[in-house]
């Protein structure tokens, strides 16, 4: 118990110090960080508000304190009775759909739920002033992640939902980690240690190979009905066949393992996973006395040509639901902008290791020192933004990949791709 208390106060200490110093930044009268814009919803919105927020378990306390900072920064303009409840991202999406009226005013959700939430009317569109400000502070890719067709519907809160390569340095050298062939050789040389990469059974990872060779799959969403009405897909192509060959090649290796669960440093020499594994991996490295390496995904070679594994840039977004009261809508947006602003993102990174979307936050020393985020940024060059696609597309891709790795000839790989192609129309919404 005592230990717990100490640990807890250790976490809180920086936050306390931070608030004691009353921040290093200057606030303008609007209650927004310096550089805040002249927003188009400049209605008189001072007052008292009940605001419900759903965020992941890990950042509930932090979010409470950040809302407190928002109120303080507003200089008494707003009084907020905040209810911050621990709801994970998939839960938040389904609960908002179940009951938008009693649901949260602000909620964090994963990017793949964006179109569904937008169609159901659980997200309020952002005005151009917000979009311009976000673009300036976070870059166009982050803003695109919150876009459905032409409009932006949420505030990017973290970009660390992507994945990269973890490895144990005394088993896999930095150079060996750059190429799949050398990587697998290093794993084998370390005594049959594995590379855990869930490429065949998870569409999210399987896409790495296809996107690496230049395949694309774009889906059109009908704005009015919210249904997927068409697609442009080049997975069944010569490039797709190359990716398929590489996938099959990967699986012929005895040390490649179709698994995500991290046994890094134990039975696995390298693991493909996201930032959510970072803390566990780092702790294990420290405890067992080896050095953790993080890098962009390796490249692979097919028929003498080299391709770099691609990946999805995964964002988590902070959504604001449409409000009945225009004043509350205005305050909720300002709060959302505050929570996704530079200071809050930096603080959130410090406490919960959420990788910032904010360009300035990403330049902070701490972020630069974070091996995982640096690897993610490195991988970012090869990554594609996860556009809008039917959820079943990932399943379809996983099925195809699973068939491909079991294939005994290139002909069978081609057959699997043909099957994939034939099934795409059915992923469109029926009726």
């Amino acid at each position: 118990m005592m230990k717990k208390f100490i640990r807890k106060s250790m976490i809180l200490l920086p936050a306390l110090l931070l608030s004691a110093c009353n921040f290093k930044f200057v606030y303008n009268i609007e209650g927004l960080p310096a550089g805040g814009l002249d927003f188009d919803d400049d209605i008189e919105d001072s007052g008292t508000y009940d605001i419900k927020v759903w965020v992941d378990d890990k950042i509930v306390d932090l979010t409470k304190s950040q809302i407190g900072q928002f109120v303080t920064a507003s200089g008494g303009k707003y009084t907020i009775n905040a209810t911050v409840e621990p709801v994970d991202e998939p839960g938040a999406a389904s609960k908002m759909l179940l009951d938008v009226q009693d649901g949260a005013d602000l909620f964090v959700f994963a990017q793949d739920q964006l179109s569904r939430l937008k169609v159901a009317g659980s997200l309020a569109k952002l005005s151009n002033t917000y979009v311009d400000a976000l673009t300036e502070e976070m870059g166009i890719e982050a803003v695109n992640a919150a876009k459905v067709n032409q409009d932006v519907y949420a505030f990017p809160i973290t970009s660390d939902n992507g994945y990269f390569l973890y490895y144990r340095k005394d088993w896999v050298s930095d150079d060996a980690a750059k190429n799949m062939t050398t990587l697998l050789a290093a794993c084998a040389a370390a005594g049959g240690k594995t590379l855990n990469f869930e490429a065949p059974s998870n569409g999210f990872y399987a896409a790495s190979y296809f996107m690496a060779t230049g395949c694309t799959s774009e889906w059109t969403l009908d704005d009015a009905s919210g249904k997927f009405t068409g697609y442009k897909d080049t997975y069944n192509s010569p490039e797709g066949l190359i990716a398929g060959k590489a996938l099959r090649e990967l699986n012929t290796s005895t040390v490649a393992k179709n698994s995500q669960a991290s046994k890094l440093g134990d039975t696995a020499a390298a693991v493909v996973s996201g930032i959510w594994e970072y803390e566990v991996a780092q702790n294990r490295a420290e405890k067992n006395g080896w050095e953790l390496g993080c890098a962009a995904l390796p490249s692979f070679t097919v028929d003498g040509k080299e391709y770099h594994l691609s990946s999805f840039d995964g964002y988590k977004l902070l959504g604001v639901k449409p409000q009945v009261d225009a004043k509350k809508a205005s305050v909720c947006r300002k709060l959302a902008r505050f929570l996704t602003g530079e200071d809050c993102q930096t603080e959130r990174f410090g406490e919960a290791s959420w990788g910032p979307t904010n360009i300035a936050s990403n330049q902070s020393e701490k972020v630069l020192a974070h091996k995982g985020l640096q690897a993610l940024h490195e991988q970012h060059k090869y990554a594609k933004a996860q556009g809008q696609c039917p959820g079943a597309w990932f399943t379809a891709l996983a099925t195809t990949a699973t068939t491909i790795v079991k294939a005994s000839s290139d002909g069978e790989v081609q057959a699997a791709l043909d099957t994939y192609k034939a099934g795409l129309t059915d992923l469109l919404d029926a009726d």
Binding site: D40, V119, S127, Q323, V324, A392, L424, A430, D431
Partner: protein, 501 residues
Amino acid sequence: MAQLTDLEYLKLNKAQRFGLKFTAFFKAIPGWFKNLGIKIWTFMKNFFWGVVNFFKNLGLTFWHGDWKTKVSYFVMGFGSVMRGQWLRGILFFLFEVVFILYMALFGGKFLGQLYILGQNESSMGDDGTIVYGDNSFNILLYGVLSLFFIVALIYTWYLNIKQNKIGEDYVKAKKQLATAKDDVKALVDKDFYKTLLALPTLGILIFTVLPIFFMILVAFTNYDKSHFPPQNLFGWVGYDNFGLLFQWSNSEGASFSMTFGQILLWTLVWAFFATFTNYFLGMLVAMLINKKGIKLKKLWRTVLVFSIAIPQFISILFVSNMFQYPDGIINGILSAISGGKLLIDFWGNAWIARITVIIINVWIGVPYLMLVVTGILMNIPADLYESANIDGASPWQQYSKITLPYMLFITGPYLLTSFTGNMNNFNVIYLLTGGGPKVQEYYGNAGKTDLLITWLFSLAVNDTNYKLAAVIGIMVFIVVAVLSLVIYNIIPSTRNEEEFQ
């Protein structure tokens, strides 16, 4: 079919007997339909005359009635109060007041839009605001509730009129009417059942009948993710959703109807194996424990009962993770035994997953069956076995000639309920596999171990596709109802209620 005599029947071998029963069953089907037809006809006839008489009586009562009765047509309970039955009268009146208040303040506005399910769309402003329009969901739900209320009112109103008629007749005949005190007395004595039933039936009406009614109606609307209240309206589409069931898509890939067929098939296969593996293995274990000469009977039984005591979501979820690939305990044991060579992806391959769920279901269900069977085994008359022993029957013969027929006879209805129960066994499938492995050729992200009930759940909760979930729900109901009807007619009935009393 020529009727066989008993003697002729006994001469037949098993296959012939089965064949006979089988053909008899199907030959009886036209008869059922005929009976059904007659029943429906009689019902319609009675219904028609009932309605005619209803109105005739209403008119006559009004015509011949005194002023108290006439007022009661508009102010319910008036006549009763005037004739001294104030308790009934006040209750009638209160019901009328509640009804009027409900309709005026709440139900009326929903009822009025029931035919179209709302017209005003919600509109979203650029400043992050929304003006909510009509809520189709509430219109449908409370519209249906209002209909229930109206039916209840008509019925109460009719009772109220009947009371007046009786009241008048009694007064004319100079008989004593039941007073309030008599009413109360009756409610704890002669009419005690009304008191007892009031609360449970009200609960069932609001929390089971109303929701089921609602969901049946949803099958005739376009309630899905793009028609999702309160932000969007949904409306009536007639039989369109059912049409999807019979629409075989032209492409080779998935379609709703193909998926439905496949999943229905697996649901039946699963229910069959889940029921009978449990049944026979449970019987085996029970017989083993109850065998003469086996000691510590109570211990063995308690060990098994132990696993019933732990909430399913804990035990099943844990077991599901034990079978995880590649890091579950079972794979740990397998790889330890095989030196790391053998690892099984239990949940990744359709057939392995299907077999695994059936096996794990044995683990879940056998203790329960063991208890059921133990009770029945004890009831088999011991002298049957004694005489069998004297005749030198082998244990197998004793089992197949005495135990099994007896068990099947007694547990026939139970087997049926557990079959339909397994068809809807949400917990086991959902917690073990979540329906997976998911495959592309199935519609709506369904998986190879999905039952109709789990598919329905994921359609509703994950895809917010309530219209199709409702269609599946109705189909599940039809399958279960038809199966029950058919099987009830084959198995020997042991359900004579009065038998024990």
